[in-house]
């Protein structure tokens, strides 16, 4: 009893072949889309790699690029098979390759499923990398003379301006770090000396933030220094002032950006899985319909198409039996050994 049989006459077969050809080319375009999304994601990770300590994992974009290329290849081959399927001579060429091709498609779908899972799970890794990386970026903001960290200041300023955020969790992260290099501090000044001596690690700490934390939407000119000191500025209360500097932390801002990107890519991959399954089902129907034609010379005859030759349970039973026999051929048959040993 075949699984989900459908009767096909010539018209239906032709329609199926044409429709399937178009769907396969649509899948090729989706494959190209996946490939370009992988490249885009890779470039974005590279752009912000300084914020992540150059430590970020490129597994997801690399996998996306691979999957995109595979999708293009597999679907282009499927399209070619469909195009040739109505011509019996050309189709005979492709017939022996079809079973391995369908198995390959199954494997490819499993790979797509894995990629989608990774898209959703790797977001945690991105979050942790960002937290660690931003902490270090803020620490090394002042080291514009250290080779390898010259551009940390520029990158962090650009990130804060672009993503409208300040600091790691919020702007108070800047209060805990010396972000003005000693090169620009007048050590002969008493005030400076007092401030440096006032904490254990000898850091010049102050309640100020860099200019890139400033919010352009604020109605008053930006207050960067003495942020927690209400009396230092006229008509200023730091507890209710929200528009002066960005209140969001950069970790949250960057994470929401990457997370939305990864979620949309994951959703697209799930849609691709569904599309590929439709492709596989269509191809199986087409090939079985062409194979079961009673009179191969007469194209007008009817034929049956199905998804599985036997029912689902029977097919699984057969598969398991096959796997068992595969395993058994590797084992040495015990009966045959003993007589040999006796000899």
């Amino acid at each position: 009893m075949p699984f989900m049989p459908v009767k096909f006459n010539l018209q239906k077969r032709v329609k199926l072949a044409q429709g399937l050809w178009m769907i396969y080319w649509l899948s090729v375009i989706v494959g190209i889309l996946l490939f370009s999304l992988g490249i885009f994601f890779k470039i974005e990770l590279r752009k912000r790699s300084e914020m992540m300590d150059n430590n970020e994992s490129h597994l997801v974009p690399n996998l996306l690029i691979l999957v995109g290329l595979l999708a293009c290849g597999v679907n282009a081959f499927g399209g070619k098979v469909c195009h040739d399927s109505l011509d019996p001579i050309k189709f005979a060429k492709w017939k022996p390759m079809l079973k391995p091709f369908l198995l390959l498609c199954c494997g490819f779908n499993a790979l797509l499923l894995l990629t989608a899972l990774l898209c959703f799970l790797m977001q945690f890794a991105v979050y942790l990398t960002l937290a660690e990386g931003l902490k270090n970026s803020i620490k090394f903001y002042k080291d514009t003379d250290t080779p390898g960290r010259c551009f940390m200041k520029r990158t962090l300023d650009l990130t804060q301006i672009e993503f409208r955020c300040c600091g790691n969790n919020n702007f108070r992260d800047w209060f805990e770090v010396q972000w003005i290099s000693n090169r620009y501090l007048d050590m002969s000044n008493d005030l400076v000396k007092d401030r440096v001596l006032s904490n254990v690690e000898g850091k010049y700490l102050m309640d100020s933030v860099p200019f890139s934390c400033c919010n352009p939407g604020s109605p008053r000119p930006c207050i960067q220094h003495h942020l927690t000191n209400n009396s230092a500025h006229y008509d200023y209360d730091h507890r209710i002032e929200e528009l002066n500097i960005w209140t969001r932390g950069c970790r949250e801002a960057l994470f929401s950006y990457f997370s939305s990107m990864m979620t949309s890519i994951g959703v697209l991959i799930i849609a691709t899985i569904i599309l590929e399954s439709v492709d596989m089902a269509g191809l199986k129907y087409l090939t079985t319909a062409l194979e079961t034609m009673e009179d191969p010379e007469n194209p007008e005859c009817e034929s049956d198409g199905w998804l599985l030759e036997k029912g689902v349970k029977e097919t699984f039973g057969d598969l398991l039996a096959k796997l068992k026999t595969l395993g058994k051929t590797n084992q040495v048959v015990e009966g045959g050994d003993a007589p040999e040993a006796a000899n």
């Binding site: 520029r154 620009y184 860099p210 200019f211 352009p216 109605p219 008053r220 006229y234």
Partner: protein
């Protein structure tokens, strides 16, 4: 003596018609391209509308949009005509329209050329508009409580951060105006009152710039206040410090940006003009060769195609005469003092039927 005469066999005529059909469709695409370039320019100008004073610069994108739409329509019609020209029966449908179509398209290509040249001429007006607009914007930077100017501060800050510029000509423009609103100045402090009294107009002027002028590439934290006072900061000399603030003026930055856009658009429009002209030449050859074939009678024979039937001078003379006669037809004949109702005896011989016997006069009833 025809201008640029060429011989066309039947095959060549058919091929020419097919090629022209494809080229006309490509021209429709270039028409769409012109339209979208005009739209893009319009959007870009409107985006920074707050920073430009009232000047008539909208005519350039409007012209490009109009030209793009007309080009689409003309080339669509041209494609249809060329498609039908392969079949001589269908050509008869279009025979009368083709010559006016070619003349209209020829004058239209002049419009395309004018559009391209306008792109390059817009620069002067744009510079003046930006100059006035930016001066006003900097003056009203502090007026975040005045309706209609609430967002000018935000616009100017975003402009300076995006285009890496400061002030109109340079950062010193900020020293000449008060950019901190009086709402945030403590009038009870002596220093503030002194500063306000120190100039004629009572403005709070200082050698400081807004945060958006800060240069990202500077190795040291941004120095915004007391920019010209070397002793106010450690190890600082404002004459040699080039990385602290953006050195370029915003007018120059915006002008360069728009000039770059308009040069690219102008170049594209010029290329489109050349393409249109070549397609038009092909259509003219097709038209003249098909008309000659019809005149000869044998549809499969060779025929001549040309750009102008007589030489350039003769064609110009003939056309001028036609225009003069058209003019004369509208003029009143001055022989009868301008009165058309006077009966002028006919000078030609009358023809009185097959016997040529004049009519007898009918006797009057007594």
């Amino acid at each position: 003596m025809a201008v640029l005469r060429l011989k066309f066999t039947k095959n060549e005529r058919d091929k020419l018609a097919q090629v022209l059909w494809i080229l006309n469709w490509i021209s429709v695409l270039t028409g769409i391209l012109l339209f979208s370039l005009g739209l893009f320019l319009k959007v870009e100008i409107n985006k920074r509308g707050e920073l430009m004073a009232e000047r008539d610069i909208q005519y350039v994108p409007n012209m490009l949009i109009a030209v793009g739409l007309i080009a689409c329509a003309i080339n669509f019609l041209g494609g249809k005509i060329c498609y039908d020209c392969v079949d001589t029966n269908k050509f008869l449908r279009w025979k009368l329209i083709m010559l006016p179509y070619i003349i209209c398209t020829f004058f239209f290509t002049f419009c395309v050329l004018v559009g391209a040249l306008m792109c390059y001429s817009m620069r002067g007006e744009l510079e003046e508009s930006l100059n006035l607009g930016l001066t006003e914007a900097i003056r009203f930077y502090k007026d975040t409580d005045t309706p209609g100017r609430c967002f000018l501060k935000r616009t100017v800050d975003m402009l300076q951060m995006e285009f890496h510029c400061c002030g109109n000509n340079g950062y010193k423009d900020w020293f000449q105006i008060q950019w901190i609103s009086n709402r945030y100045l403590d009038m009870s402090q002596k220093e503030v009152v002194d500063r306000l009294r120190s100039n004629v107009e009572g403005k709070y002027l200082m050698s400081g710039v807004p945060f958006s002028c800060c240069n990202l590439n500077s190795p040291r934290p941004c120095i915004q206040q007391h920019v010209t006072n070397n002793s106010a900061h450690f190890n600082y000399e404002h004459q040699t410090e080039a990385l602290n603030l953006w050195m370029r003026g915003c007018r120059e930055a915006l002008l360069e940006y728009y000039t770059h856009i308009m040069q690219s658009i102008g170049l594209t429009v010029l290329l489109t003009w050349l393409f249109e002209l070549s397609v038009l030449t092909g259509v003219r050859y097709l038209q003249t060769s098909l008309e000659n074939v019809l005149r000869q009678g044998d549809l499969n024979s060779e025929s001549d195609g040309w750009l102008l039937e007589n030489s350039f001078m003769e064609t110009a003379r003939t056309n001028l005469n036609i225009i003069k006669c058209l003019g004369k037809g509208n003029q009143i004949d001055t022989a009868n003092n301008g009165d058309p109702n006077i009966n002028v005896p006919s000078t030609s011989k009358a023809h009185y039927g097959p016997d040529n016997v004049p009519l007898k006069e009918i006797p009057e009833a007594s």
